[in-house]
């Protein structure tokens, strides 16, 4: 088997790094709170200058998520959201808004669709990366290869519990960026103290040259700027989802305002962290 070319996410994050951009990566549950508002928020994401968006594939039993994202998943599932439709929304985010897309979802819907079919659909939709929080590197080899053939990178997670040996092992196969889980917990829970977090990011940096994007519990511009002094990118989910629970323009405006402040905070962090 020939080595596949560099994945789209790898290329995108490398370009951002070379330009000195530390992106804000907003997380949106697919089709939340309804598809119209979702599309409005996507436009606001692009307008705020975010190059990349993370779109959540809803699952009935999201064990890595806190109450806010759980509730958003439950709601879109009740509204009929599926994995197939999520892939269509991902394709539209790239086509209509020029956004890079990372899909985040649990393993079972992917298995049910079929790993090869899922990978092919990711290629078709030009999905840049995929995050599967319940698929640790030990179990990920097969899906990683299928996705790589489609130019899609499988993103690995690093947690505060990951020791240096394990990190070295995990980083060897990783691509695109490493998703640093800021603290032991679920999405939307409190973050680590700023000191702990920066020490943690620096420790990971000593082991790998991969771009480090930090998520879980980051909710304010101040926090985002703080994290970005050491990290390459910042992921924000629950704090954004909380703002858009109502359908319509008020939510889009609230999202635009919040994203603008977050991006501004990140832009104030100068230079490369490497």
């Amino acid at each position: 088997m020939s080595t596949p070319p560099l994945g789209r996410l790898t290329q995108l994050t490398a370009r951002l790094r070379s330009e000195g951009v530390k992106p804000l990566v907003p997380f949106l549950t697919a089709g939340y709170p309804d598809e119209d508002t979702f599309n409005g928020v996507l436009a606001a994401v692009a307008q705020a200058g975010c190059p990349l968006v993370e779109i959540g594939i809803p699952f009935s039993d999201p064990v890595a998520d806190g109450p806010v994202i759980q509730a958003s998943s439950q709601r879109v599932l009740q509204q009929g959201m599926t994995l197939a439709r999520t892939l269509e929304l991902a394709a539209a985010a790239e086509r209509d808004h020029g956004l890079g897309v990372v899909l985040m979802g649990y393993l079972n819907p992917v298995l049910k669709m079929g790993p090869a079919e899922f990978a092919a659909a990711c290629g078709q939709a030009r999905v840049d990366g995929v995050i599967i929080p319940d698929l640790p590197p030990e179990e990920a080899r097969g899906l990683r290869a299928l996705l790589a053939q489609q130019g899609t990178d499988l993103v690995d997670l690093v947690a505060p519990t990951t020791d240096p040996d394990r990190l070295r092992q995990n980083a060897a196969a990783a691509a695109g960026f490493l998703y640093l889980v800021s603290t032991n917990g679920v999405t939307g829970s409190g973050t680590n103290t700023a000191d702990n977090l920066s020490a943690y990011i620096k420790n990971v940096r000593q082991i790998t040259d991969l771009p480090l994007y930090v998520g879980f519990g980051i909710s304010t511009p101040e926090q985002a700027a703080q994290v970005a002094t050491n990290a390459d990118g910042v992921i924000v989910g629950s704090a954004l989802i909380k703002l858009i629970s109502r359908t319509g323009d008020t939510s889009v405006a609230a999202a635009a305002n919040f994203l603008g402040q977050m991006v501004q905070a990140l832009n104030s962090v100068k230079g490369s962290s490497r």
């Binding site: 439950q74 298995l111 319940d134 519990t161 829970s189």
Partner: protein
């Protein structure tokens, strides 16, 4: 469906293609620590001695193997029926076997806090019990629906000092309690051990919990040989996650003994029969049969028995189904309720609604033509020998079955 081939197949924690470790990265180091601790403990004579003495002096093992002669008559005298009396354990169910083992491991790992999920409350009670025994903090997650239908067990947990946290997400039953326990564990991973109550979850839990429950099968084998001088023809156990079944099966799986796992067929509202009606998928850390939609969403389970009310099943059962070694079938709520009343009246033993599924199936199989169960007419056989695993007592179920007006 060809999903198996995408997983690594280096054999760790696998039963055929089933099992594995499908958990967030935060938990991986902690599963590896648990595996190392368990591997060391199982080879340590001091650990074995401590566990054996707790099982004997604290829980009251060995539990009796009791011949239920009035039940035999009720089943048309078609077999000799023995009940493995796990209901006579301390706390009233087999769950304590696993909890005693895991609490010793938690101490070895230096953990100060325990979390657990519970459906019927039997595992929650057993966990609260062992935490009281060793003086560790205990938090039990329980679906709001289950807290209502198993109220006596909630009171028991409180009395022993455990915090019982109502789970209000999803169907508010065992599945959702399990998810919430995992979220707690991820958040407090440094201080906390998660005592999973069945042979489910990521490796090493399915194998480890099986080994702790294997005492049921080991005893039953010795007891039936002592009483009848031969092995049974069939062994029947109920299957939710499947720990009591794996425990008793492990004593007979290498022999020529028919094994039956009985799932909860529920009612028209739905079932919990993952093996009979589900397809392989991943929930709560392992790859196994699962009730799911065409889009891979988990279907909430339904059963009158809160302890069977789970849409998944232990991965070893999935393998035993595929290999054909165990026959899996289901009985519905009404059949289980009938068996519950029958055993109470016929033998003066009130069985758990979970165990009542195994009892109902025993009666069914003995009333069917022998073609269905060829072991019933082995040449030269006098009367078949059947063991039913009576996994727990039914006092907790009085409100469910209308016997309690309170």
């Amino acid at each position: 469906m060809n999903t198996n081939s995408i997983f690594s197949t280096d054999g760790t924690g696998r039963f055929g293609p089933y099992g594995g470790q499908f958990v967030p990265e935060t938990l991986m180091p902690c599963l590896q620590e648990l595996e190392r601790t368990w591997d060391a403990a199982r080879q340590d004579p001091a650990f074995k001695t401590e566990l054996a003495s707790l099982l004997a002096d604290y829980s009251g093992r060995p539990t009796p193997l009791y011949r239920a002669q009035r039940l035999e008559k009720h089943c048309g005298d078609a077999a000799r029926i023995y009940l493995k009396r796990e209901d006579l354990n301390h706390t009233g169910a087999h769950k304590i076997n696993n909890c005693l083992g895991q609490i010793l491991l938690a101490k070895r790992m230096g953990k100060s806090r325990i979390v657990a999920e519970t459906g019927a409350g039997q595992h929650g009670v057993a966990t609260a019990t062992v935490c009281a025994l060793v003086g560790l903090e205990c938090t039990v997650y329980m679906g709001e629906v289950d807290m209502k239908r198993q109220a006596p067990n909630v009171r028991r947990m409180h009395l022993m000092g455990a915090a019982v946290i109502p789970v209000t997400s999803g169907a508010r039953t065992l599945k959702d309690a399990s998810s919430e326990a995992i979220r707690d564990w991820v958040t407090h991973v440094a201080t906390t051990h998660y005592i999973i109550g069945s042979v489910v979850g990521p490796h090493p839990y399915p194998a480890m919990v099986r080994d702790f429950q294997a005492v049921i099968g080991t005893e039953a084998r010795q007891q039936i040989l002592a009483k009848e001088d031969r092995l049974p023809d069939a062994v029947i156990a109920c299957v939710g996650g499947g720990s009591n079944a794996i425990g008793i099966f492990s004593g007979f799986v290498a022999d020529e003994v028919a094994l039956y796992g009985v799932e909860a067929g529920g009612s028209q509202a739905g079932s919990s029969a993952a093996l009979s009606l589900g397809e392989p998928g991943v929930l709560h850390g392992s790859f196994s049969y699962l009730l799911q939609t065409q889009d891979g969403q988990v279907i909430p389970a339904h059963s009158v028995a809160a302890g069977l009310d789970y849409p998944g099943v232990g991965p070893e059962h999935s393998h035993l189904k595929d290999t054909g070694r165990v026959c899996y079938d289901s009985v519905n709520d009404d059949e289980a309720l009938t068996a519950f009343a029958d055993l109470s009246r016929l033998e003066g033993i009130i069985p758990a609604l979970e165990s009542s599924h195994a009892l109902a199936y025993c009666r069914r199989i003995l009333s069917q033509p022998t073609a269905v169960a060829p072991w019933r007419k082995k040449p030269g056989m006098k009367k078949p020998l059947v063991i039913v695993n009576l996994s727990g007592r039914g006092d907790k179920d009085m409100a469910q079955t209308g016997e309690d007006d309170s």
